[in-house]
Each structure stands twice: as C-alpha cells, then as structure tokens.
C-alpha cells in the first residue's frame, strides 16, 4: 500500500502523458495500482463478483479526470479517493434494495469463539471459526452507516495510515481519529442490539 518508491519520475511522466490524452500512457498506471483498487473495492463492497467491473469504471473515471490531478497528493491516494467516491455512490444505489441480514452465530457459538480468542495462540481458530467471524463482521459492516464502513475498511482492512485516510476523505487527521473511534463504538453497540439476551446490564450503563 506504500508509495511506489523507485521510479516515481517514470510515473510522473506517464501521468503527464495521460493528461495530454495519451491512452497508452495510462496502461502502466493501471498496472501499478490495479491491485490496490481491487482490494479497496472488494473490502468496501464485500462482493467478489462486482469488483472487476467497478475497478474498470473507476479507472475510466480516473482517466477522464486525470487532468485535474495536481501532483499534490500521491497518485495512489488520488486514485483511492476516486474509488471511495465511486463505491459510495454504488452503496447508495444498492442500499435500498438490500435486505439486512442478521447474525446467525448462536450464543453458544460465540462463547466458544470468545474462549478461543482468550487463549494465547489465536492460531487455534479453524477455518470454520474464521468464516463465522468474517460473516459476523461482514454483516456488521454491511449494516453500518456508509461513512463508518468506508473509514473502518480503510483503516482496519486496507491498513492505511490516519494521515492517508485524511487525504483520501479530505478530512483533518483529528476528524478521522474521532470518526474511527465512533465507528468502532457503533459497531459494538450494534452487536448488542442483536443479542438482547446479552445486553449490557448493571450500574454505569454506557447509554
């Protein structure tokens, strides 16, 4: 995910040529950043089958607006911003038609998982456990507000730094931290809503 270090001069050359309308110069840029965009799209949308089409649309959009790129942010960051905005629009469109799922993990299953997580080697999680966890968090992300989802994906799944997320989302770093914090909190509160039996009780309830 880091900046493409060695041939940054070459990259600038490609970008400038693309800005003059040379399609061929855009090819190596696509080559360089396709994995990054695929990963981002996949993690935000959580849908394997839609990734390639979305990535294609994103790169075409990027080529059409490449003249507006001013070399201030890294090219990858600029591309990620276009990708995030494109995913955002897509999520808005599909949100209406999407059924919200409910977490299928039983309380017993959860206890078991928790016990395994307690143990020093998390290696004990088998494929099935991992699938259950992915399922749980995937659904939590699916239900989260779009802005929470995007910021969580950028930080937790794509492993971007707070500063880079700030650049992608055009926010201050301090704002990113606050939103990240809030997004985590909302996710944890959402789990509680699914498990009324295990609702927080007792003195000092958070809400």
């Amino acid at each position: 995910m880091a900046n493409p270090g060695p041939d940054i001069g070459q990259e600038i050359e490609w970008i400038k040529r693309a800005q003059r309308g040379e399609n061929e110069a855009f090819g190596p840029l696509v080559d360089r950043y396709q994995r990054r965009i695929f990963s981002l799209v996949y993690h935000v949308l959580q849908r394997r089958g839609e990734v390639e089409d979305m990535a294609q649309e994103i790169f075409i959009k990027a080529f059409r607006s490449v003249r507006s790129y001013n070399f201030r942010a890294a090219f990858g960051t600029w591309l990620s911003r276009i990708a995030v905005n494109h995913c955002y629009d897509h999520l808005r469109r599909i949100r209406a038609s999407r059924v919200s799922y409910y977490w299928q993990l039983t309380e017993e299953g959860q206890r078991e998982l928790e016990a395994k997580l307690e143990s020093p080697e998390a290696q004990r999680l088998d494929d099935e456990d991992r699938a259950a966890l992915r399922d749980l968090v995937g659904k939590l992300l699916d239900r989260a507000p779009r802005s929470d989802r995007v910021i969580l994906v950028l930080k937790e799944l794509e492993d971007y730094s707070v500063e880079e997320i700030a650049e992608i989302l055009k926010l201050k770093a301090s704002t990113v931290k606050v939103r990240l914090h809030r997004a985590r909190k909302r996710m944890l509160e959402d789990i509680k809503r699914w498990q009324p039996g295990r609702a927080i009780s007792g003195v000092g309830q958070g809400r």
């Binding site: 399609n23 061929e24 855009f26 090819g27 190596p28 696509v30 080559d31 396709q34 994995r35 695929f38 990963s39 996949y42 993690h43 394997r48 990734v51 390639e52 990535a55 294609q56 790169f59 075409i60 080529f63 959860q110 998982l113 928790e114 997580l117 998390a122 999680l125 991992r130 699938a131 966890l133 992915r134 749980l136 968090v137 995937g138 939590l140 969580l152 937790e156 799944l157 492993d159 914090h181 985590r184 909190k185 996710m187 944890l188 789990i191 509680k192 295990r198 927080i200 009780s201 007792g202 003195v203 000092g204 309830q205 958070g206």
Partner: protein
C-alpha cells in the same frame, strides 16, 4: 460515567494493550467485560476479513482498459449520434402509429367525430317534436288507448 470512559478507551486503544487499571475494572465490571469481549470478537473478525484473499486481477486487465479508453472516446461521439437518431426514429414511429390508429378508430365512433354534426342531428328532432307535439296530441287524444298517459291528462285539463 466511569464505565463510559473505560469503553471509550477500549475503542481508542483498540488492538493495543489495555493498561492495568482498565484491565482491573474490566475484570470486575460485567458490562464492560462484555463490551471488551465484543471488541475482541470484532477485531478478530476484521483481521479474518483482511486476511481473506482479494479477487485476482484478471490477466490483461490494464490492456483491455486502455483499449476501452480508445474505443470509448470514439464511441461517445458515435453513440451520441446514434442515440439522437434512434430517439428521432422512435418518436417518428410513435407519431405515425398514433396517426394510423386515429385514422382507423375515428370514423367508426360517432359522437367523437365532428361535434358540430352531432349537435345538428340532435337539434333537429327537438324542433320537430316541439312542432308535432300538439298535432300528435290532438290526433291521438281521439284514440285514448294509444295516447301517452301524460298527454291524456293534459288534454283533459285543457277540456276543463
């Protein structure tokens, strides 16, 4: 209040190590312990999601994309032309169909066609009945069975 602060710290520290004081509280407070457990669960889930292999970029993705860029530039101009021409064709066809339908349907339906003619047709009998009314009344009143009921009464009133 204290619990809320503890949970805020859990959100903020996230995967980092919890300070001893917080661990102590979590060990004694059931609600915070449950919150912390959920946090661990979500962290593990996010980790599992991140580890899942991302769909592979298909071979020749960049090449195909560049080709599409070339095509799409030429296409947009061409497409616009066809779209506009197509739209015109559709409109023309629709209008033609409508005209044809009207031409077929109109002569068959009376009242719609020429309201002026209909008015004339309606007006004439009115005048005619107005004129013949009395005449018929007079003639028919001679034959009581044939004359309409109302007319008979009117006639009788007239006679009185």
């Amino acid at each position: 209040m204290r619990c809320e602060k503890i949970r805020d710290l859990i959100d903020a520290l996230w995967t980092g190590e919890l300070p001893a004081a917080i661990r102590e509280h979590v060990a004694t407070c059931q609600a915070c312990e449950s919150y912390w457990r959920d946090a661990r669960l979500v962290q593990a889930g996010l980790h599992a999601l991140a580890e899942e292999p991302v769909p592979e970029v298909s071979l020749g993705f960049a090449t195909r994309l560049v080709r599409r860029l070339g095509e799409s530039a030429a296409e947009t101009a061409q497409e616009e032309f066809f779209v506009r021409a197509g739209r015109r064709f559709v409109y023309a066809t629709l209008m033609l169909t409508l005209a044809l339908l009207l031409a077929l349907v109109l002569p068959a339906t009376g009242p719609v066609r020429g309201p002026a003619t209909a008015d004339l047709v309606m007006a004439e009998p009115e005048i005619a009945t107005a004129r013949t009314d009395r005449l018929v009344g007079v003639y028919l009143s001679d034959i009581p069975d044939v004359a309409p009921a109302g007319q008979n009464e009117r006639d009788q009133k007239g006679q009185q």
